[in-house]
């Protein structure tokens, strides 16, 4: 039995582009999420490099 799952039909997953971000330079949500991922990687690299930077 399939329940009334989230009131969304099988062929309509959650929409990532339902709203404009209205941010300068990043107009899509995919772009925002990518930017968050890139910032995270930069932070981890910087944090991991701290002892080396100040050895």
């Amino acid at each position: 039995m399939v329940y009334n799952f989230l009131m969304i039909s099988d062929d309509a997953p959650p929409d990532l582009t339902d709203d404009a971000t209205e941010l300068p330079g990043v107009s899509t949500w995919r772009g925002v999420y990518l930017a968050v991922g890139v910032i995270f990687v930069v932070w981890v690299v910087l944090l991991a490099a701290l002892p080396w930077l100040f050895s």
């Binding site: 399939v2 989230l6 929409d15 995270f40 930077l53």
Partner: protein, 560 residues
């Protein structure tokens, strides 16, 4: 603290609360009272989410953690950006689409009434019992060092939070949290600047960071796969990620914050604001602690930062032992300080053998000083086992001893602002969940909005009084606080399991997930007593257990 400090403290705290009450007066309908006004900006939502999570303990104790063990704690937050992405992509559109007041209302729509009540009940149990901690933890530290009566400190903090939360609802919480966070960051920034300024003239910022490196205080990332290590990259990413997913996605104190306002865009950007700034915020607070550590390598610290406790015990039976340990500590610290100065000088002149000799001498002296500190803490704790961690007193000791008047008032205001803003976020959520998921849903459905606004105000007052009562009672039962903290950390995984089942396992129904959640919670309790792994992992275990049992039970249930 002098008159100027008290003026800054009372002016900033009462001024912000009064402003919140004034600006949001006359809110009468349930939607604007519980969810805030439609024009709440994404920045306000983002700040509100941040302020609700960052309690006074974050700003009071985290620098002490940086002092004692360096930057490693920041890894705890590595999973948060990804959890916030998942919530923004999958959870938020559904919450918005269904226009729910609480996260548990969603469980009722997706599953059934009993699963909704289970989710709401687990939240109320966990947050309701733990409600006093956000007030008690800072009150015990601040009242000890200031010489204030702890019961007055607890009642004063609690009443300020209750008054504006009850009068202005969600909007007042959003509005005041913005200014409270402003006070907090202004205070922390001022403390950081003065700390760097007060380093010895011959010690540059780079020298300070070099000293910190050689004492392993800048070891921020540990890629070890050992599950017994509390903070590693993997436990932070996975365990911390699940904890963040549960806290931000299924805990009404956060869901209520980002459902403020009226647009999906505002809620999403508010969450992304936290995804970007959560790690840097924790990093800078920990870095403040690391700089404090370096500062106290050149400036003699007390052997025990909770000086009130030290003086009490020094005047009692173990006084001679404590004074002897203090003398050992001072001598070792003096050797260490000289060794570090010689080491930095030798590094600058390029004299490698002298630098290595001085560094070894400094590290050996540091080990002796550490030994004296550890023994002192042992003697004091043996006499009074209720004493908390001495690291909680490191930052406040620095503030009171080395910062100018006015800034002291600002920093103390920052700690209270953090306690009040976190408390206000919790109280709104407890009041909303009790009203919407229990009272309106189960007891008195179908009454007009005005009735539920009044009910919500009453429940908020009630939970506020429970929090104050718990905080007052907590003085007598320190073990209770530990029990509540443990309960919190082992509940979250199962609650998240229920929500992830709702979102991603479409064939599972209410009966299966309800019993699976109860069985999984029992399993987590048993594993907690049987295993000795980092508590972060119980978020993963509880969630996985709940989802797996849900699928299994659903397969076993007769098809309708």
């Amino acid at each position: 603290m002098n008159a100027l400090d008290y003026l800054v403290l009372l002016g900033s705290l009462l001024g912000i609360a009064a402003y919140g009450v004034w600006m949001t007066r006359g809110r009468r309908d349930l939607k604007s009272y519980l969810k805030g006004s439609a024009n709440t900006s994404w920045f306000t939502i983002g700040v509100s989410v941040m302020a609700t999570q960052a309690s006074a303990v974050t700003f009071l104790s985290t620098p002490g953690q940086g002092y004692e063990s360096g930057l490693g704690f920041v890894q705890n937050y590595f999973g948060a950006p990804f959890a916030l992405l998942v919530i923004s992509i999958f959870f938020l559109p559904i919450y918005r689409k269904l226009d729910v007041y609480t996260a548990y209302e969603f469980l009722g729509r997706r599953f059934d009434a009993k699963t909704r009540s289970l989710g709401a009940g687990l939240f109320l149990l966990q947050r309701g019992f733990g409600a006093g901690i956000t007030i008690y933890a800072p009150a015990i530290v601040l009242s000890t060092v200031m010489g204030w009566r702890i019961d007055f400190t607890i009642i004063g903090t609690g009443l300020v939070a209750i008054v504006y939360t009850v009068s202005g609802g969600s909007d007042a919480v959003n509005l005041t949290q913005r200014y409270q966070l402003g006070v907090i960051f202004a205070g922390m920034f001022a403390a950081g600047c003065i700390l760097v300024y007060r380093l010895p003239a011959e010690v540059s910022f780079r020298d300070a960071m070099t000293v910190a490196t050689h004492f392993h205080r800048l070891d921020a990332v540990d890629f070890s796969l050992d599950p017994h290590r509390r903070y590693t990259f993997w436990s932070g990413l996975l365990g911390g990620g699940f904890l963040a997913l549960s806290y931000f996605g299924a805990d009404q104190s956060q869901v209520g914050r980002y459902l403020s306002g009226d647009s999906l865009r505002g809620s999403r950007l508010g969450l992304m604001f936290n995804a970007v700034f959560k790690i840097p915020m924790q990093f800078f607070i920990l870095l403040l602690g690391v700089l404090l550590f370096v500062f106290y390598q050149f400036e003699t610290p007390p052997v025990f930062f909770n000086q009130t406790a030290w003086r009490q015990q020094a005047g009692a039976g173990s006084g001679d032992r404590l004074r002897a340990l203090e003398a050992d500590f001072t001598a070792a610290h003096s050797d260490e300080s000289r060794g570090l100065t010689a080491w930095l000088h030798a590094r600058r002149t390029g004299d490698a053998p002298a630098a290595e000799a001085a560094r070894s001498a400094a590290l050996a002296a540091h080990a002796r000083a550490d030994q004296a500190r550890t023994e002192t803490a042992g003697v004091i704790r043996a006499a009074d086992p209720r004493l908390g961690s001495d690291s909680d007193y490191i930052f406040i000791h620095f503030i009171l001893r080395y910062l100018p008047h006015g800034i002291i008032g600002l920093l103390v205001a920052a700690f209270f602002a953090a306690a009040i803003s976190a408390k206000a976020g919790e109280l709104t959520a407890l009041g909303a969940t009790t009203t919407v998921d229990l009272y309106r849903h189960l007891v008195r459905p179908g009454l007009p909005d005005a009735h539920f606004v009044a009910a919500s105000r009453s429940f908020t007052v009630l939970w506020g009084l429970v929090a104050i009562g718990f905080a007052l009672f907590a003085q007598l039962a320190e073990n209770l606080i530990q029990a509540v903290n443990i309960l919190g950390s082992i509940f979250y995984g199962v609650v998240l399991g229920v929500f992830l089942t709702a979102f991603f396992l479409r064939r599972v129904g209410g009966t299966a997930v309800f019993w699976a959640a109860l069985a999984a919670q029992g399993g987590v309790f048993i594993l907690y007593h049987a295993l000795s792994i980092s508590y972060l992992w119980y978020n993963v275990i509880g969630c996985a257990l709940c989802m797996a049992l849900s699928v299994l039970l659903q397969a076993m249930l007769p098809r309708k």
